[in-house]
Every structure is written in structure tokens, then in C-alpha cells.
Symmetry: C2
Amino acid sequence: MFNQVTILGPGLLGASLALALRERNLCQRVHTWSRRAETRERAIQADWCDAVFEDAAKACTGSDLVVIATPVETIVPLLTQIAPTLHRDTLITDVGSTKNHICHEARKVDAHFIGSHPMAGSERTGMEHARADLFEAAACILTPAESANPEQIKRLRELWELIGMRVVTCTPEMHDEIVAHISHLPHLIASSLCNYLSIKDVTWKELAGGGLRDTTRIAAGDPALWQQILEQNRGEVLRAIEGFQNELESFKRSLQEKNTPTLLAKLKKGKQFRKTL
Amino acid sequence: MFNQVTILGPGLLGASLALALRERNLCQRVHTWSRRAETRERAIQADWCDAVFEDAAKACTGSDLVVIATPVETIVPLLTQIAPTLHRDTLITDVGSTKNHICHEARKVDAHFIGSHPMAGSERTGMEHARADLFEAAACILTPAESANPEQIKRLRELWELIGMRVVTCTPEMHDEIVAHISHLPHLIASSLCNYLSIKDVTWKELAGGGLRDTTRIAAGDPALWQQILEQNRGEVLRAIEGFQNELESFKRSLQEKNTPTLLAKLKKGKQFRKTL
């Protein structure tokens, strides 16, 4: 499908994508770049990797697909940096968890950028956790600009589909509203719950069952990555928090006012929704 | 360890306890009772069960251990009902998720009741999900009254330890404060999040990754059981919700005010706490 693919930032997502492409013979060569010498060292030793570069633009030379898999704040600066050296028909995408800011800024850059957000990952980060099947059965959201080349969109969609993803397309604005609710809000809630419980007696948590562990699992995600995500999607995340706060307050009120029918109805609605996930 | 054990309410916890006792040869006979004919029918066919009764008091006749494993609202009424027919040294416990109300009321009943709360379980309920290893490596909280017989406390502790649990002892009041935070609050948060997301576009949830599924898993718990638990622990749960609301508001404010150091510190503290779970 591709001759040469460049992965900028071979972390969990980037390295997993390289593994998935290799496993399915979807590319001939994989080039990679990382800001960190340690990561470059590890990439050199990885089976999926053919060449490692210290310079991001050089890593992209001759590639027909470039995937920017760095933290969200670095995506636009990298795109700007590599754009001048790219081939006219190189397809460029990213795997960032926010899309509005990135796609807005990317329009100013002379390159065929189409935003992707594979909804796969884990609270673990880094190349050492990469897996060829990370993307299987998960959703991937594409946010092409109106001016995007339909052939390029089709190609990008095929890429994600070939590694097992369900692909949907929407505007960057809609993407950011959706993920504020289904990803960023749950993260913030999990982290808030951990912060709250961290001030309590240290022995309490030793009594916790699987429920608390599941509810808070995502709070173990990388703080610096999540700080960037939450800040890049500030407006939508704030709206989502407020919506949740209203619901939580109403839940509390039903308990406070001994309104059993409402409390029970909420617990039932919660269960019903959860079962559809 | 026991000659005859009676399980009142052979649901997930009750039937799992019977299986665990049998697997380890900790009892000779298991009697059971259920309010529901359908459950009694299923119990008759279960390997762990020797006799099924339509009358709770009769099910307890001659048993040296009685475990009340029904929903929390039914525990005290059942205890009151069976007490007159019990042997003087029959040990009686329960597996209820609340302890203050239950232990307070149990003191009025002439029987050797010691409250237990095995912190095991799942969002699935019912005998069909019972497993002999359900309790392994989980915590069990005992809340004996000051007047409780030390020999009986020791015996109850051994029972839970022999099926793999870490046993701790505290007052019923302390128990309810702790579980309000580590169990009831997480449940209520998960259910609130589901309620909030249920009013959004139905297609959004199809895009969700494992994070949302984990965060909300416990919201699939039985609504009627949880309504009783939350109402029996109303005061402590309300205090826990308020504490969490303050933390969430402070998290939101750090994002709103673009206070990156505070936002990052909270994400770090959340990760740190989660890693200790």
C-alpha cells in the first residue's frame, strides 16, 4: 500500500502502527524520528524500523505516508518543520486526541494533512508497550478539511481499516465535542477521584475492590500528554464538565431528598446506557 | 471448620461463598433459602447445595454458621425472623455493603451477629456468575460490636481468611465512611457519567475506547441493590459526593484559569495515587 512510511514519535501509538503496517505487509520501509536520543536508540533495535533520524524533515524524505504521533502540542510545529521537504503527494496524518486546533493550524501549512484520531491506546505509554493489534476493533475518527483531496481521504481511510479500525469522518469541531465527552471528561473524572481519595487515610485504598481500580484506571495516563490534551480542548472539556456536574448534583439531590423513584430511575438509566457500550 | 452452613440469599456472593467453602472442605453441609422460587429451583440443582428451604428459619435449624447474603434492606428483617430458632452458639454474619444501620439494628436482636463486608463482587449478580475464587486476594471488613464474643470474631476472621481474603476490623461507622469513598462514590460517579452521556447523540458512544468502558463498568450493577446501599449509607455518601464535587470544581478551575502548573500537578497526583492501588 505504501512504499515508505515515516513515524514521527514512535511511542505507543506510533510504534504500534508501524508494527501493524509491517504485520500486514502494508509498507516496504519504515523511517522514524524521535526528539529523544534514548527513544532513537530503542527504535534502531526494533524489528519494525529500517532507519532512524535525528532530523524530522530528513526522516520524511521520500516517504509516501508521514504519521505524526507526538504529543498534541508538538504536532503543528512538526508539520510546519517538515512541510517544505515533503513530496507533493505525500499523505500526512497524525494520531492526536484533539483535532480543532491542529486542523485549523494545519490549513496554514502547504501540505496534504488530514487529521486522524485512532481511539486506541492505554494508560501505558511508550514503544515498549506497542502491539500490532492495538487498533483492532477500535474506532478511528478522520477530520478532513473541506479542501482535502478525496483520493487522499480514501487512502487514509483504507489505511486505518486495513489495520482493523472502524473509520468515521466528521469535522474537527464535532470531533472535539465528542471526545471531550467520551474520553477527556472520563479522564478528568478519574483523575479528580484519585486526587480526592489521595487526601484520605492511606489504608482505605487497600480495601478497595475491582470497581475503584477500573473506575480510575485511566488516571494513570501520562500527565504531560493529558495536560496538553485538556488544554487544547479547553472549551469543549469545560462544557462537558459542567454538564456532568449538573447531572451529579441532580443525582445527589435525589439521595438527599430521599427521592427513591428518581434515584432508582437514574441507576437504571446508568445501567441501560452502560450495557450498550 | 463448620458442620452445617446456611446461606440466606444464594446470589453472586452467597453462592460463591458456598462454592469456596466446599472447594476447601470447610463445611459438611450447605442449606440455602431464597425468597424466589426460581432461585430455589436453581439452587437445588447446584453442586454446592444439600438442601433448599422455603422458610428462612427452617433453613437455619441446626447450622453452626448462617450467612445472610441478601440485599441490604432485607438483612435485619431476616435476622429478626431467624433469631428465635437459632442455636445459642450459631455464628451469624452477612455480606452487606453497609454496616452502620445493619449492626445498629442487629444489636436489638438476641443472636451472635457479626457484620462482614467482603469487598468482592462484580457488576454481574446472581448465582449463575458464582465462582469459588471470587474472594481471593480481596479485603474483608469485619465490624463486630464491642460486646461480641472474641472467640466468634476469631472464627469469622478465620473463615474469610481460609477462602483467601485479607481481613480487617473496624467500627460499623468507620466502615460506612470508608466504603462511601472507595465503593459507593465511584459507583455513583460511574452512573452519573452514564446518565449524562445517555442524553447525547447515540452514535458518540460507538466511538468510545476502553477508557470509557472501564470508567463506567460498575454502573452496570443491579439498580435495586445499589439504591438500597446508597440510601442506607446516605449521610456518608452525601459527604463523599460533596468532597468529590469540590475537587472536581478545583480541577475545572485550573483548566478554566489556564493554570497549567496546578492542572499538571493534579494529573500527576492522580497518576501517583492510581499506581498505588
